[in-house]
């Protein structure tokens, strides 16, 4: 596969680290080289939070992504911070329920969806992160549906197993 460098960015509490872990697990299940790196500074307590996930067939150098080719942005500050870091030809996914800044990149493919509103209307409050993973999967085809489903089953902790179905629903919502 071509190296996929995804930055998930938004507020703490939006499930960005979890979404990143789902994508990383999918990479593991498909036998790719994988790295997942969170921001762990004070921003985790309510400010901007982000995580870097790399899937590659080569050993991964720095797990800290400076030039993503996929960006998932769930608030204005993080969209502003990362929009210009995306490599030309990259794919940008914006949750327009929360981001009102208009995208300026014309050399990237930009996908706008109201993920947070979509999730709430479908009774999936708090799962906009997975809606966006679903959309990203549809547009990049980085793994099969079976793989991502297995990744979700691996990633949702055992004590929250009841949430697996909700996550799968959110995934499908994003893939529509």
């Amino acid at each position: 596969m071509e190296e996929m460098r995804v930055v998930f960015a938004g507020f703490g509490g939006q499930g960005l680290l979890f979404a990143g872990k789902v994508v990383a697990y999918a990479g593991l299940l498909d036998d790719h080289e994988v790295s997942w790196l969170p921001s762990y500074g004070p921003e985790m307590r309510g400010g901007t939070a982000n995580c870097s996930v790399t899937l590659s067939d080569e050993p991964i150098g720095s797990p800290l992504i400076m030039n993503p080719n996929v960006l998932i942005a769930m608030n204005n500050p993080s969209f502003i911070k990362f929009e210009n870091e995306v490599t030309p030809g990259g794919k940008i996914f914006i949750d327009t329920s929360l981001v009102n800044k208009k995208p300026e990149r014309e050399d990237c493919e930009v996908f706008e969806l109201e993920a947070t509103n979509m999730a709430e209307e479908a009774g999936l409050k708090g799962l906009a992160n997975i809606v966006l993973v679903g959309k990203m999967l549809k547009e990049t085809g980085f793994c099969s549906y079976e793989t991502i489903e297995a990744a979700i089953r691996k990633t949702v902790p055992a004590r929250k197993a009841a949430l697996i179905d909700k996550n799968l629903e959110a995934l499908k919502l994003g893939m529509q």
Binding site: A24, L28, V34, W36, Y40, G41, I60, G61, P63
Partner: protein, 354 residues
């Protein structure tokens, strides 16, 4: 083959240590190491072991001293400022010739510094973690898998040479997740006839102590310890080389910065620059023998570190002026980019043409 799982470096060290037979963990929370202690708090009781959050780092290292004297496989973990606090205890443990594992998931310094990744405790780890004549084995893993493997093997090395062993990681390695295959749990552990477990009037008493009132006796034990260090130097050096055979420029880097250096070296090769990567896995003993073998062939060396230039001293000691040894680093918790390192390699390469 065991199933690969996705784990943080901090968690992989903890799980691997338990599988190596470690049943005592004494620590105190500090970012970016906290997940290690948290994992131990969760897992250790299930293995019949002891997890104890001490009142301070100083207390924790002295608990390690006690458990080690009693023959247990024991460890503590912390991050830079917390490791400094442990230094007195580490010196006592080394002075009493006791084995243990100490983890340092470094952050920016000096002082309270930052909480972002750093390698600025290289000197502290390899030169003087505490007062007195002693060294300890220091490992510098660069992947989560290596963190698990080295933590597992570290207990054997500690027991074999009766020395504290350190794993020197950093915030990036501690926090990042990668696929890891965990080692099989140990079923047998080495005998420790020196342990202070109670003689029951059946044998001569064992003593764990670092105090000598007769100078000549202390000198003798120090001599003996340094003889052991010579054996460690001869047998335990570890390093990895990538494309060093025909390299004009050898980049020397360990841990997290070696990952960045590896990307830069690959990019340099794509531009036709003959660069290679030399990665020390043991920082003490420094892999002098393997690096020495490149001297006379390489035209220049570049040490890449997340500090102001510390390991570069050891590189210069090996190269002994046979080629220029340059340095590139970022500090305070800032992570260098492959592009920055590549620029430096290009600069050196242009200099070679002159």
């Amino acid at each position: 083959m065991a199933e690969k799982v996705l784990m943080k470096g901090n968690e992989a060290i903890a799980e691997s240590a338990i599988r190596a037979g470690c049943r005592f963990f004494f620590g105190y929370p500090i970012t970016p190491q906290t997940e290690l202690a948290a994992y131990m708090a969760k897992r250790m009781p299930k293995e019949g072991g002891t997890y104890l959050q001490a009142e301070s780092e100083v207390a924790a290292i002295n608990m390690v001293y006690g458990a080690s004297a009693a023959g247990a496989r024991v460890m503590t973990s912390s991050s830079s400022p917390g490791v400094s606090l442990k230094s007195e205890g580490v010196s006592y443990i080394a002075g009493a010739d006791l084995p243990c594992l100490i983890i340092n998931i470094e952050r920016g310094g000096p002082g309270l510094g930052s909480i972002q990744p750093s390698q600025s405790d290289y000197w502290q780890a390899t030169r003087a973690l505490g007062h007195g004549d002693f060294q300890m084995v220091v490992y510098a893993p660069s992947t989560v898998q290596e963190m698990a493997d080295l933590a597992y093997g570290a207990f054997d090395i500690a027991d074999k040479y009766r020395t504290p062993v350190m794993i020197l990681g950093d915030g990036m390695l501690g926090q990042m997740m990668e696929p890891v295959e965990l080692p099989e749990p140990r079923t047998e552990l080495p005998e420790k006839p020196w342990a202070t477990t109670g003689h029951g009037n059946k044998r001569e008493k064992n003593i764990a102590n670092s105090l000598y009132l007769v100078a000549e006796e202390l000198e003798k034990t120090n001599f003996e310890r340094f003889e052991r260090y010579e054996v460690i130097k001869a047998n335990e050096q570890m390093s990895e080389e990538v494309d060093c055979e025909d390299a004009d420029i050898i980049v020397v880097a360990f841990g997290a910065s070696s990952r960045i250096a590896r990307s830069a070296v690959r990019a340099a090769r794509e531009e036709g620059i003959k660069a290679g990567l030399f990665r020390p896995i043991t920082l003490w003993p420094f892999p002098t023998d393997a690096l020495k073998a490149t001297v006379g062939k390489a035209k220049a060396y570049l040490s890449v570190e997340m500090n102001m230039g510390q390991m570069v001293d050891d590189v210069r000691l090996v190269v002994e002026g046979a080629a220029p040894v340059d340095f590139y680093g970022r500090t305070g918790g800032v992570i260098p980019t492959p592009a920055e390192v590549l620029d430096k390699i290009r600069q050196i390469n242009e200099g070679l043409g002159e």
